[in-house]
């Protein structure tokens, strides 16, 4: 959805005006790693959010979703990595309250204006004294530079091997601009069914809270919800979109050209973050993009694309650079969506070439050697053309490797 009104920028959550961020090492993780982060503003932020659909919801998900739905103005978001505060009962909610109160004292803001997010091991209680001391340290750490955004992006990581950030400048029809920035974390337990692990999107656009939520709710299903690393929908999935309103644009209070421009900016940031997350899937060696075209309707296209990127057999074949297209067609077939196998064309594409694998559901007699060459790239796209209609969808995943098993056989020790 990039277009001439969008310009990619460096940075993440601090790219828009009005946002400070930072990270600190509170001792939740071993070895002095960054494990707490804050996103803070001097002004009241409007907040939109999407949250996990898992029946088992982490305490901070319950905390945030109540505040976002209630229209609460936000001043800060406090995040910790290492412990998920999920399956922690009443004490988990009490620790949310205590963390918010610590942040309120440190930043001199109301406790109700503090949102929370946690990621890490499920079922363990937060080390609350360390958290309270960590929040005070975050007050000194927060700043509005790019490096402060970097620090935030690193502090929220768990098994991630790299930080994930994106930012874009949006030009409105009257020449005014706003910025949308964001960062996310997520590497395992990634199969979002509302939005992904933790994502923090910021903007300085002046926009009503309703349209802020609408833009987020419209973009998440086509971006974060189209990523799958392992089919496991987390208890902690949270995506927040916060606006400071400092951009100076004409207020966006109804749908129209400016709303669409803003939404395109949100889409660009979320799509970039979604791809970064898939590429950094636990143990992954390559990004796998599946683009379904020619579908009868978008729902079918999405179902098929997501089924293919979620297939363990397809993911293992990709790791082995094996053009085992039978597994792709099989995963399309059990997805639940309708199509005629005998009409499917299939292509593999990467920076190393392009190859048609199937024509009308039958092997084209392609070169296996060439296919392996294409699949050796660190980013591989598969296009499936159903020849049924005009709808399309894209999903992102990664390969299934020994490292995935290593990471997850021994996560807690």
């Amino acid at each position: 959805m990039e277009n001439e009104n969008l310009t990619l920028l460096a940075g993440g959550v601090t790219a828009p005006q009005g946002f400070m961020a930072g990270g600190a090492a509170a001792g939740i993780k071993a070895g002095g790693a960054l494990d707490m982060a804050v996103l803070y503003s001097d002004c009241d932020l409007k907040a939109a959010g999407t949250f996990t659909t898992n029946v088992v919801k982490a305490a901070p998900v319950v905390w945030d979703s109540e505040k976002v739905k209630g229209g609460q103005s936000v001043r800060a978001v406090v995040v910790n990595s290492g412990v998920a505060n999920a399956c922690t009962g009443r004490q988990g909610m009490e620790y949310c309250q205590r963390t918010a109160e610590a942040a309120a004292a440190a930043f001199d803001i109301p406790p109700d204006s503090v949102l929370l997010a946690s990621t890490g091991v499920i079922g363990r209680q937060l080390p609350i004294e360390k958290m309270e001391a960590g929040v005070a340290a975050l007050k000194d750490a927060a700043g509005e530079g790019l490096e402060d955004g970097n620090s935030f992006a690193h502090a929220i990581m768990t098994t991630d091997t790299r930080d994930k950030q994106a930012a874009v400048l949006v030009k409105f029809k009257d020449g005014a601009t706003c910025t949308v920035g964001g960062c996310c974390k997520g590497s395992g337990m990634i199969h979002p069914n509302m939005c992904t692990m933790l994502a923090f999107i910021t903007t300085d656009a002046k926009i009503s809270r309703e349209l802020l939520q609408k833009a987020l709710s419209e973009v998440v299903p086509d971006t974060f919800n189209m990523v799958s690393v392992d089919g496991d929908t987390s208890t902690n999935d949270t995506c927040l979109l916060l606006s400071s309103g400092l951009a100076g644009n004409a207020p966006i209070e109804e749908e129209g050209e400016d709303y669409e421009a803003f939404k395109a900016g949100v889409y660009t940031v979320l799509e970039s973050l979604a791809k970064q997350m898939a590429r950094d899937g636990e143990g992954a060696t390559r990004l796998f993009e599946v683009h379904v075209i020619g579908a009868q309707n978008k729902a079918d296209a999405k179902t098929i694309a997501r089924s293919v990127v979620s297939s363990s057999l397809t993911k293992a074949a990709l790791y082995g650079r094996d053009a085992n297209w039978g597994r792709i067609l099989c995963a399309m077939g059990y997805s639940g969506a309708k199509f005629v196998p005998e009409k499917v064309d299939l292509y593999f594409i990467s920076d190393r070439g392009r190859l048609q694998i199937l024509a009308n559901g039958i092997d084209t007699g392609y070169s296996e050697e060439k296919a392996t060459e294409i699949l050796s790239s660190d980013a591989v796209t598969c296009i499936a053309d159903l020849h049924e209609g005009d709808a399309e969808a894209t999903a992102w995943g990664c390969d299934l490797t020994h490292e995935y098993v290593d990471i997850n056989a021994d996560y807690r020790s």
Copy 2:
């Protein structure tokens, strides 16, 4: 569902009266391995069947399902391993016809009385000349002894590491008996959504074709359809139940005590085969049984049990003997079924002990060392008590290991 009317027997498809079986090496697989098998009877067999729900159906699935639905009497089933005859277009169907004709000539039976099954690589055409020669060799190989059933069970294997057979003697209320035997293959691409890869169940019970199909259709959803190795529903899933009617029991022509006794026999054989298949999942080191009790209804219990055995994160943790119960609760939570996390009790059980992990959704403070000891067994059961009602269900899976990745990264070469 074992009871005093059921006695486990040695053997598989040749255990009931009236069945001959055998295997041969036709050169489809490299290295002279057994790769063709026949199940044959001198009398007309009644046939029931369940087949894959994948939109992409292998040619032999199309062939068999038409014949079974049409009430066709069966004399022989010809199976090959190595090539799945899936995604093979019109030529795949022609090769079904040629294989059936070769069997008809070799065994002197009508081509329409021949059922077919294939398993192996998707998208490759059958080596039809080798198949035709193989069918002739099968005529000499077929016999009615236990070793002939063994030969059949071995010839249908692909990545399986062991054959899977079961048999049971069923006693009817008047003292008459019948036998139900069976064998199956399946190790990867196992997430049946009608029935599993390939299963061949035989019986000498005298029973109407309608009740034969009814018994199979009622038992498959609770047995084969509750196994998951990797979440991939195959294109070739086929389960056939064939009856010779030679047992001499009073004909079963309506539901009642004898039908229930027969169905219990079918259940016992299918449950045994389902567990054997899960234990032999590709790369698996241990069987994982998940038993959900106290559910509001059976559908919820099944959904939750199946979600847990399908979770990659849970499977990897089991491989690492890590009692990472958070992943289990998480997988229950995203299953789509309703329950209250705060009411869940969770137990791990094996031949090395029994441990309650969660009480009312909260960690019991169990010994991690003891839990690891229990999880080190080659068969581990997890019980989840929802405290919502009286319904229950069991699902079977296995752990996720490096060997799974090895097997599937390099399957075709």
